[in-house]
């Protein structure tokens, strides 16, 4: 068991941030997740997880430029940190190790 425990939703959010690379702000992340995973995500659920991941050091963020839309509010873009990448890779390794450990017979009947 890794000491960096990552919840299922946390993992998905991290991955989505990585996918969006440089374009990951709140609504974009939600849209991406809804498109790819067909899964309803509320702003509240997402934002809490984003802040938590930031606090844990997997993500950093910075403000973008203000625009005419969005009531003139700036976007906050999220970036995956090196530490975040490492944790994601670790999780993936674990998953793969588990997949590989399944006897072939399980999926072959």
């Amino acid at each position: 068991m890794s000491k960096h425990h990552l919840g299922e939703f946390e993992e998905i959010v991290l991955l989505t941030v990585a996918i969006l690379h440089d374009e990951a702000y709140g609504i974009a992340i939600i849209d991406e997740m809804e498109n790819r995973l067909e899964r309803k995500v509320s702003i509240g659920a997402l934002q809490t997880v984003l802040r938590r991941l930031e606090k844990k050091g997997y993500l950093t963020s910075k403000f973008g430029e203000a625009t005419q839309v969005r009531g003139g509010k700036r976007k906050r873009y999220f970036f995956i940190t090196a530490f975040g990448k490492k944790v994601l890779a670790e999780v993936k390794e674990q998953r793969l190790a588990l997949w590989n450990a399944i006897p072939r017979i399980v999926f072959n009947n």
Binding site: G26, G44, Q47, T48, R70, K73
Partner: protein, 868 residues
């Protein structure tokens, strides 16, 4: 500029800005706006606004909401930990005081929890019916010379009300019978409370059936529904439906439905309901549409009024109803509506516990709590003296008043919290015991945790605030210089007068309770010392039939060695609800007297069995029909005759002149009803047809043996019936059960109040003694005797007790004379009662004080003086 229509809803947005952590506010708000704009195009304004609102609500969660204590976090957490740590240390350091405080508070709080659960339980009675506030019971006021109250109505009343008035949604008549003989199968016989109920009864009351419906189950004659537990008792695991029972060996009944068990917070405890159409087979008088003469207390009538109908309106339109059927009885019967919620509390109509008693208990509970808080204040204020140096140093190194106050409140909270936890434990352990001790009528309910969830925090804050705030202020106010110089003395913080006041307050509470206790005990003794008849060792056994067989059995019983005397009679002297009042004609007067006479039929052995004395004339002669009468002294008094001798030989006719006879003797008065009621005129006559019971006076000590032989003789004569017996003293005790329970409770609470007071006194005196050790030592060296030192400590408190007596005596007199108003025959409140309460208080407190002060007085003065 966009128009307002395309903007997000204002309130949710403001709410969001208010709660959101400022660091996140801008970008999340931007996200929200973006979503909103997007949805506005896709789905329109309505759903966009709604979803915006939902998003804001879903964002309201711990990760996003700003901190309660501002964002610039000063690390006050450490401070709280420091408070708690210090509170704990000071509890440990002043161990004796902490224990005394916790003990006193625990006692007071346990009582509060108990009283709360008692009051809560009793006010929950019959609150589970639908639209309880529209359900009423019809009751009747009988206006004779004085008004008597019956929780019942004339037999045809319910029918007339249903047919002629439109106020009711549902009307139901229920005829209850206390002792029906139920036969199950061949052999099993049970005495059971039964009721004949119209189907509407189950539409008014929320007593659901688990099998069948009330409309169907009770529509046919000879059908019966019973509760699950009764079915279990009768038929075991077998299906009860369509099995048969027999009532009084003559009426066959078929089970057509099963009721869910009656909830324990209901006063309508009948478990077996027979269809109303069966009632005419049981007693045709009940179903006679013309029976407007007398009222049987068995015939109850319930109604659920239509919404918006006012009870007073109904009562007004009922006036004159009885006169339509009995024009000769003008204004004699007045029908009233009694709200269902009052049934449990109304003492007029046989309620279980009066609201007044509940209020008394609540007041006692508050008293106990106040006494415990007073203890705390006293001790804590006294303790400030001992802690003055600590406080001084805190202040010098920058403790503010508010932080010192806060620290003290934390300390108080800690003690209160410990006490409440203990009290909860104590009350949980004691409730089953208390219930066993109090008996069934007035019981405590196990409080549900959900109830206490609201009650305990309130109690907690109340106690913390009441007991913590004064000493907290005193402590925070101290000047650091005086405290550090060690010059602080009692008078420096003016608390001694406050403390005196508190002690006086405690003594007032104790004395009030003691006075109450003395008066109640005295009144109970008074009322039960001389009932006017013997009640010990008398067994009441029902008769099986009213014929020659009864006489034979009587003679057989008389031959038993354990039996002194046997009388066959309608009812024993304290009849309770078995009374039968009749109008009567005296002498040769043509008009009946304006009041009723209690009719009792009994044979010639009645007086000897119950030890009732004759004042004039002679006893009845054996006879099977009405020929001679005995009357009581009240009868003579009511007729305004000079001496009992005057009625001897006069004619008396009762029951519409059907029964006539000569008065042959006058007996001493006995208490026929409970002491709340006045004594009635009574007549006793022989009438074989109306003997319902054997009154058997036993001798010797082995009652069990005698009862077994009585039972076997009885069953031999009446093999198809069920032998049962009841001791008369139990029956009499039932008339006073509420008083007994209240007495028990007051006794217990008084003892507790005194105990709490003593605990506080003990703590205070031991503190005083430790302060005055040197003074005592010097006095002893200068030649003071032990007694004079004891006197120094005692005089102060004796004075306080005297002051408190001066307050408690008039207050107690006022309260207790109010209580005695309930009794027709009552004691006088003598001065001795208050003297006694003073004495008790003084002795107990002197003992408490004496223990500590004697220790100081006997100690060797050198021990105290040498340490300097």
């Amino acid at each position: 500029m966009k128009d307002r229509k395309s903007l997000p809803p204002r309130f949710p947005l403001r709410f969001f800005r208010w709660y959101c952590h400022p660091e996140y506010r801008e970008d999340i708000e931007g996200d929200l706006m973006e979503r909103f704009e997007c949805r506005l195009e896709e789905k329109g304004i309505r759903s966009a606004r709604w979803e915006f609102f939902m998003d804001v609500m879903l964002l309201f969660r711990p990760g996003i909401v700003k901190s309660l204590f501002g964002n610039q976090k000063l690390n006050s957490y450490v401070m709280y930990r420091y408070h708690i740590k210090f509170a704990w240390r000071s509890l440990i350091r002043n161990r004796q005081f902490s224990i005394i405080n916790i003990l006193g508070l625990t006692l007071g709080l346990s009582c509060c929890i108990l009283i709360y659960s008692f009051v809560k339980y009793h006010s929950s009675f019959d609150d589970f019916h639908a639209d309880t506030d529209r359900i009423y019971r019809f009751v009747t006021e009988e206006h004779l010379q004085n008004i008597s109250y019956t929780p019942a109505v004339h037999n045809p009343f319910g029918k007339v009300f249903r047919e002629e008035f439109t106020y009711a949604e549902k009307v139901a008549r229920v005829c209850t019978e206390g002792r029906g003989l139920i036969t199950v199968g061949e052999q099993d016989k049970y005495r059971e409370a039964i009721a004949f109920a119209e189907t509407e009864y189950f539409g008014i009351m929320n007593f659901p059936l688990v099998r069948g419906t009330a409309e169907k189950a009770l529509s046919q004659p000879n059908s019966v529904v019973l509760t699950e537990s009764l079915a279990q008792k009768y038929f075991g695991a077998h299906d009860p439906v369509s099995r048969t029972l027999e009532l009084d060996n003559k009426i066959p009944l078929t089970v057509t439905g099963v009721l869910k068990d009656i909830p324990k917070n209901s006063d309508f405890r009948t478990q077996l309901y027979i269809s109303y159409s069966t009632l005419s087979q049981y007693n045709p008088w009940y179903t006679d549409d013309n029976s407007w003469g007398g009222i049987s207390s068995n015939m109850k009538c319930f109604v659920r009024l239509k919404a918006g109908v006012n009870a007073a309106m109904v009562e007004a339109s009922l006036s004159g109803l009885h006169e339509r059927f009995r024009p000769d009885r003008q204004g004699m019967y007045v029908y009233k509506l009694q709200p269902l919620k009052d049934v449990h509390f109304s003492s007029l109509y046989g309620g279980v516990v009066s609201k007044r008693n509940l209020v008394v208990l609540v007041i006692i509970g508050l008293f106990l709590l106040v006494a415990a808080c007073f203890n705390f204040i006293n001790l804590a204020t006294a303790l400030v003296l001992r802690r003055s140096r600590e406080i001084g140093i805190s202040k010098v190194i920058g403790g503010t008043r508010s932080s010192l106050f806060l620290r003290f409140m934390v300390e108080t909270s800690l003690i209160t919290f410990l006490s409440i936890s203990l009290a909860l434990l104590v009350s949980r352990i004691s409730i089953p015991r208390i219930n066993r001790w109090l008996g069934d009528t007035l019981r405590f309910d196990d409080p549900l945790p959900t109830d206490l969830l609201f009650f305990l925090p309130i109690l907690f804050f109340l106690v913390v605030f009441v007991s913590g705030s004064y000493p907290g202020v005193v402590l925070a106010r101290l000047s650091p210089i005086t405290t550090l110089k060690g010059k602080l003395a009692q008078h420096n913080f003016g608390g001694f007068n406050i403390r005196r006041t508190l002690i006086v307050g405690q003594f007032v509470i104790s004395q009030l309770l003691i006075v109450g206790l003395i008066v109640i005990v005295h009144q109970m003794k008074f009322t039960q010392s001389d009932l006017g008849f013997a009640k010990d060792a008398i067994v009441i056994v029902p008769t099986g039939s009213e014929d020659e067989k009864m006489k034979t059995l009587k003679n057989e019983l008389l031959r038993l060695s354990g039996v002194d005397n046997v009388s066959t009679c309608l009812a024993p002297p304290a009849a309770g609800d078995n009374s039968w009042s009749l109008t009567f004609y005296y002498d040769n007067r043509n008009e009946p007297e304006g009041y009723d006479i209690q009719f009792k039929s009994a044979d010639e052995d009645y007086l000897a069995t119950f030890d009732i004395d004759l004042v004039a004339g002679r006893n009845l002669l054996p006879c099977d029909t009405v020929r001679e009468f005995l009357v009581n002294e009240t009868f003579v008094k009511k007729l305004n005759l000079a001496s009992p001798g005057e009625v001897i030989g006069k004619k008396l006719a009762v029951n519409g002149r059907r029964w006539k006879g000569t008065v042959v003797g006058v007996i001493k008065d006995f208490y026929d009803q409970s002491f709340h009621a006045e004594k009635n005129p009574v007549c006793i006559t022989t009438h074989l047809k109306y003997y319902r019971r054997y009154a058997i006076r036993l001798n010797g000590s082995d009652y069990g043996q005698t009862l077994t032989s009585i039972g076997s003789y009885w069953s031999e004569r009446y093999p198809d019936q069920l032998f049962s017996y009841e001791f008369l003293d139990d029956r009499v005790a039932k008339l006073y059960e509420t008083e007994h329970v209240i007495l028990n409770l007051v006794q217990a609470f008084t003892a507790l109040a005194i105990l709490i007071g003593c605990i506080g006194l003990f703590g205070l005196v031991s503190f005083m003694v430790s302060r005055k050790k040197k003074e005592v030592a010097i006095r002893k060296i200068l030649g003071a005797a032990v007694s004079s030192i004891l006197a120094i400590f005692s005089m102060e408190f004796l004075k306080l007790i005297l002051v408190s007596t001066a307050i408690a005596a008039p207050l107690g007199w006022w309260v207790m004379s109010g209580w005695l108003e309930n009794f027709t025959y009552k004691i006088n409140l003598g001065l001795w009662i208050f003297a006694l309460s003073f004495g008790i208080c003084a002795i107990i407190s002197m003992l408490t004080i004496g223990f500590q002060s004697a220790k100081a007085a006997w100690a060797n003065p050198v021990d105290f003086l040498q340490d300097e």
